[in-house]
Subunit: 155 residues, 2 copies
């Protein structure tokens, strides 16, 4: 059991805490950059991104608090049931985040290529940054899910 | 080992063979519906979908042949190394397929909502069917990956 605790990135380690903090920061940045442009209601993909980020932010924040508490009291969560919920939650959210990021990126690409000036340059760069932040969120969320999945069979 | 062989959907079972055949059929249909419309070169997302489907079709077809052979000779693959390659390959391809499907779906949605008639109705419905087929391919590919991943720790 002592070696299991050393899996870096699994729940209750400081690596996991930094992954969760990264997810929270990137998803909040993605939401902010998208919401600062007022025109996002016009596009389905942008509304979808905002919705998903509204799910990811509380999840990542809660997990960051759990990790921080586990690091402080040095008592990581090792119940298979709880770990399974965390793995499945991370996995579903990372798939949804990937879908939102791809949709946003492809719509921004289309808007930039259109002949008519569909989006002012100021808004378009914001949308691009938002999509990039969503991709980073997906990457960190997938990493969290994989690290915890790696731990699961050993319990 | 006899019970491991009973995991439905893992490599070398008839369930896996039907999953692979489904992937081949749906990805080919997605490619055909997209390629029949001649205008797909104009959009990055559509070119990306065609590229990814060009990767998924040979992979699924090869795996279908491997499964068919395993079912016939009743000797499924159980080397952990080979199984790991199959799981990782399925996983990467399913992520790429999901990204392509989301991009295509969001671009089609945007084209349909544009004021200018960007795409004739005939082409747009083809693009929609292509995106739906790509989503089905993603679902089956993810199922294959999960079934094989389930088998992996028991080897």
């Amino acid at each position: 059991m002592a070696t299991d605790n050393q899996v870096p990135g699994s729940v209750g380690t400081s690596a996991s805490l930094s992954l969760r903090l990264g997810q929270t920061i990137f998803s909040s940045a993605s939401l902010l950059f998208m919401s600062l442009g007022v025109e996002f209601y016009s596009y389905t993909s942008f509304c979808y991104l905002v919705t998903i980020m509204g799910l990811v932010i509380p999840w990542s924040f809660t997990m960051a608090i759990v990790d921080g508490y586990s690091v402080l009291v040095k008592c990581p969560i090792r119940q298979p049931g709880v770990l399974l919920i965390i793995v499945v939650g991370d996995w579903v959210l990372s798939i949804l985040t990937l879908a939102a990021a791809c949709s946003t990126a492809s719509v921004v690409d289309l808007l930039l290529r259109a002949e008519n000036p569909y989006c002012p340059p100021k808004f378009c760069s914001r949308y691009q940054i938002s999509a990039a932040m969503a991709f980073l969120t997906w990457f960190l969320s997938m990493a969290s899910s994989l690290f915890n999945l790696w731990l699961l069979p050993s319990l």
